[in-house]
Symmetry: C2
Subunit: 183 residues, 2 copies
């Protein structure tokens, strides 16, 4: 079985997007999609995707309709909102995440299940022990406010680190809930 | 003249400490103080230090009084609070940062001025264009809430990246305020 992996970019201070869901700070960064932790290698290993409604809305607003839906993999959108009929293999589900896991894992097969975001969705997978890894690429930016990377207290294990041009990239195993504080 | 550098540890999601100012998540990490970005090499290049009142309070609460004040360098504490007479070379100042800069830089001389934290103090240096670099070591932890790493919108330039055991370490030049969003 493949991994369930939250693969995302972040600001240095842990934001996925600014308060208006803008990614302009990310899209102007120098990055090699064929380099370490790059998108090309990652997406080739993905068998299925799952994302939150805000992420899906962002894609609808920013993709060029002439290009069509960019993913070949089946993609679940966790939402209670109503969206127009999708142009690609997009399926809507209301959750909770745990009810959807068997279908997601079956669709991913031997390949990875990509938890695209946002942070709370990744947290919902972690809550039920279903998030295996986090791969994060840090852009050389701070925002000071915005959409949080992963709003949960978790212990991780560093597996790998690399630089991809302007980005610092790291891969972690999700070890579990944060160990209790020692007073 | 040396650098003015904000050298700090952070969680992966951009927190310096939890909401109760606990660093227990950091103090249990595996790190080599003589390794890349390690404390030993860093402190040897520091000529003067400046910290906020919360950081100073944390040190007073957590240092062993029998060991005395651990720093040889002159250390300014930016505060309007009243503290007991310090045991080391500690000087209290009420700010603003810009008024203190000449004294800090003179004390640091050819060595670095270490902005110890917290995040807002580092931000105050950035606000007046007086923060040269950021060196951050990310612990393999998320907290989801706590004291923010650097609550300002800034553009950075990645200068160096390394792994120190469980930590991902990166060094940045502070380029300036975040470039305006492209709509």
């Amino acid at each position: 079985m493949g991994r369930t992996v939250y693969y995302t970019a972040s600001t240095l201070d842990g934001f996925l997007a600014d308060e208006h869901d803008s990614l302009s700070w990310l899209l102007r960064q120098d990055v090699d999609p064929a380099g370490p932790f790059g998108y090309d290698g990652f997406i080739a290993g993905v068998g299925a995707m799952v994302m939150g409604a805000t992420t899906y809305r962002w894609l609808l607003d920013h993709l060029d309709p002439a290009d069509g839906w960019p993913y070949e993999q089946p993609c679940w959108v966790m939402t209670r909102r109503t969206f127009p009929a999708p142009s690609g293999d997009v399926r809507f589900a209301a959750g909770p995440v745990v009810d959807l896991l068997p279908a997601l894992r079956a669709a991913a097969g031997e390949r990875d299940l990509w938890v695209v975001g946002g942070g709370d969705l990744a947290g919902q997978f972690a809550d039920v022990g279903a998030l295996d890894e986090i791969e994060v690429s840090f852009a050389p930016v701070t925002l000071g406010a915005g959409r949080p990377l992963l709003p949960r207290p978790l212990d991780l294990e560093l597996l790998d680190v690399a630089r991809n041009r302007s980005l610092v990239c790291a891969r972690y195993r999700v070890a579990g809930p944060l160990a209790a504080s020692v007073p």
